[in-house]
């Protein structure tokens, strides 16, 4: 196996507030190989966004990355760097794009200026040269008439164009890792496909790796080779994308797939996972999913499951790995029973 580009070990990001400690990310470990595309899936509140922000150390007070966490990137321990050294990595070696390109772009500067700023803060390049590179990049990400469009303000562009601008901004310095946090969620379906295609195309051309954060399994299926499923601040399943879709192991992953709308299937209603993600201030004891799980038994309430090895590169945080016969006796999850009673 090649040396990983990024290696995250036991990442814990806690928010210490007056209401208590929110363990938003609670012991996450994974690796990304060079030029690999990895997806992170989960409902809102599962900790996927906080994980991505933690990688760039963009967590603001009262949040903090706990001691004992390790993030190694290109052989450097990111958590040991001082602020200035970390700043030099952001936007340069690791870049990030966000969900809502309208609010993620500064409304009072032209998009050209916002692109040109990236090389300006990381090198001594002149204003004119930076602008020329910004225009060139806008062309690369498929914006027609880039020299003119560079002078536009974000509000003058469509949602899809704005996301192209965001992507262009992230790629200005050819980072080796691009973190995309829900890059297509705010876009129309047709535009979504174009943006994903653009990302895949750029990844193929530049040999960068992509960490794609999304709640949409469809997006993951289309554009990643490996999937990490997160729930309640933890990784609950990780597998090759084909393996995961063919043989999902964790009941939560199964639930996510059942909740996916599929064309061509005759189903009256979409299945939903009963209940909601529990509060990070007070994760449930045992398996954090047990109240919403149709297979949960007494062991799940008591014993926090480790990541069991299911197959090659396939792990799952579910006791079904050791007691597979329990899958034959599904029942109504606890959360649904409570919901029905209320």
């Amino acid at each position: 196996m090649t040396e990983p580009l990024l290696s995250v070990q036991d990442l814990r990001t806690y928010f210490r507030t007056s209401a208590g400690v929110a363990r938003a990310v609670d012991g996450v470990s994974f690796e990304i190989a060079p030029n690999e595309s990895v997806g992170v899936v989960g409902e809102s509140g599962c900790g996927k966004s906080v994980t991505s922000l933690s990688l760039l150390r963009l967590i603001q007070r009262p949040g903090s990355i706990e001691p004992g966490s390790k993030i190694a990137f290109e052989g450097t321990d990111l958590l040991a760097l001082d602020d200035e050294a970390m700043r030099k990595i952001r936007g340069n070696r690791i870049a990030m794009i966000f969900q809502e390109p309208m609010t993620a772009l500064n409304p009072v500067f032209t998009v050209g200026a916002q692109l040109a700023e990236v090389p300006r803060v990381h090198s001594s390049i002149g204003k004119r040269d930076a602008w020329a590179r910004a225009v060139e990049m806008l062309g690369t990400v498929g914006i027609p008439d880039p020299a003119e469009r560079a002078k536009s303000y974000p509000h003058q562009l469509s949602g899809g164009m704005r996301q192209r601008v965001m992507i262009g901004m992230a790629l200005m310095l050819s980072p080796s890792l691009l973190i995309a946090d829900e890059p297509t969620t705010a876009l129309d379906v047709t535009i979504q496909a174009q943006i994903l295609e653009l990302l895949a195309d750029l990844r193929a051309r530049t040999a960068m790796s992509v960490l794609l954060i999304t709640h949409d399994l469809g997006v993951v299926a289309e554009s990643t080779s490996r999937v990490i499923v997160m729930y309640a601040g933890e990784i609950v399943e990780q597998a090759d994308v084909r393996e995961l879709f063919a043989k999902p192991h964790h009941p939560y992953t199964e639930g996510l797939m059942a909740a996916m709308p599929r064309a061509g299937t005759k189903r009256e209603r979409l299945t939903v996972i009963p209940g909601a993600v529990p509060s990070p201030y007070d994760w449930p004891a045992g398996c954090r999913f047990h109240a919403r799980c149709p297979y949960a038994w007494e062991r799940c309430e008591r014993e926090h499951p480790p990541l069991y090895q299911i197959g090659a590169g396939h792990v799952s945080r579910c006791h079904l790995a050791v007691e597979p016969e329990r899958r034959n006796t599904p029942h109504v999850p606890l959360a649904a029973q409570i919901g029905a009673r209320a």
Binding site: N106, V108, M169
Partner: protein, 321 residues
């Protein structure tokens, strides 16, 4: 843009007219007139004739008609107490008030914005609550009292600054051009400081709130993710956005600054509009009071129009509209 300007100016005209009419009514409803306290030795029939000349012997509505007619012909009236045409007085006094306003507004914005940015960057820390406490202290102080305390401090305990007028009356005439300028600037210091201390706390508050608002926005995270340093983020990305609401505040600060200026001009004998208006009110010098009220309202209206235009220039989203 041009339509915005035209609309704002029309609205402003309506505001000025309303202010003028209200002031006119109030002023004339108050008992007495310019001749009430006149020398007893003047025969009653002379005073009656004067009253007649100035329309003062007619009903309020007729007086208002008189006033509008003279305004329409461009005649601002004659100041009875000063025995000069009102226009001449304005030409003498308005520039001095504008000078005071200009420097006070400029400095309170520089100071207010600077403090606001500092407070926001050190939110919750010593620079934040320290500067807020001091600013609030001055903000809550009555304007004349603050002015008097400055006089006490800088003219009595540490006598380094002149406390009255615009120039040195004794040595002034012999000063060269350059010395005259320095002397004038020294006379400006205390009135300007009083007004700045009175207004910059409010501006700092607004600026701080605006900065904190903008700092929560997503593009700030984007800027961090790009590798922009915190300093550049607050100076460049945040401040540029947080200045937008402050431009509006500038327009709103003008009236309170003009109000404060009346008392500050009195305390420091700064021969401006406030100084002359206070005297004119005491003398029931209707024409002069009306003129100074109109000048203030025109200044406020123009200030707000200027703020609107600046806002449009600073915010590309409004510029396009």
């Amino acid at each position: 843009m041009r339509r915005l300007l035209a609309r704002r100016l029309l609205q402003g005209l309506a505001v000025v007219w309303l202010v003028g009419t209200l002031t006119f009514t109030l002023l004339h409803l108050a008992p007495g007139d310019a001749f009430s306290y006149h020398d007893r030795h003047i025969p009653a029939d002379v005073i009656e004739r004067w009253r007649h000349i100035y329309c003062l012997d007619r009903p309020l509505v007729a007086q208002y008609g008189c006033y509008l007619r003279s305004m329409a012909s461009g005649n601002l009236g004659y100041s009875i107490s000063q025995q000069r045409p009102v226009l001449d007085i304005l030409i003498d006094y308005v520039p001095r008030t504008i000078e005071l306003m200009f420097f006070s507004l400029l400095l309170s914005f520089v100071a207010g914005i600077g403090l606001g940015v500092l407070e926001a960057r050190h939110r919750g820390g010593f620079p934040d609550w320290g500067s807020r406490a001091i600013a609030l202290f001055f903000y809550s102080m009555p304007d004349f009292w603050l002015a008097l305390m400055l006089v006490l401090l800088f003219a009595y305990w540490v006598p380094i600054l002149p406390i009255s007028g615009m120039e040195d009356v004794i040595n002034g005439p012999s000063f060269s051009g350059w010395q005259r300028l320095v002397d004038h600037a020294r006379h400006l210091v205390l009135p300007v400081i009083s007004l700045v201390l009175l207004t910059c706390a409010a501006i700092a508050r607004f600026q701080r709130a605006a900065m904190l608002d903008v700092m929560r926005m997503e593009f700030v995270v984007t800027a961090r993710a790009k590798g922009v340093s915190e300093n550049v983020i607050s100076r460049h990305h945040v401040l540029r956005n947080a200045l937008l609401p402050i431009i509006t505040v500038a327009g709103l600060t003008l009236p309170s600054l003009l109000g404060g200026a009346v008392l500050v001009e009195l305390v420091f004998s700064w021969p401006g509009m406030g100084y002359i208006t206070a005297a004119a009110i005491g003398n029931r010098d209707y024409a002069l009071v009306m003129a100074s009220v109109l000048v203030s309202s025109v200044l406020v209206v123009l200030g707000n129009v200027a703020a609107d235009l600046l806002y449009a220039l600073a915010d590309p989203r409004v510029r396009a509209a």
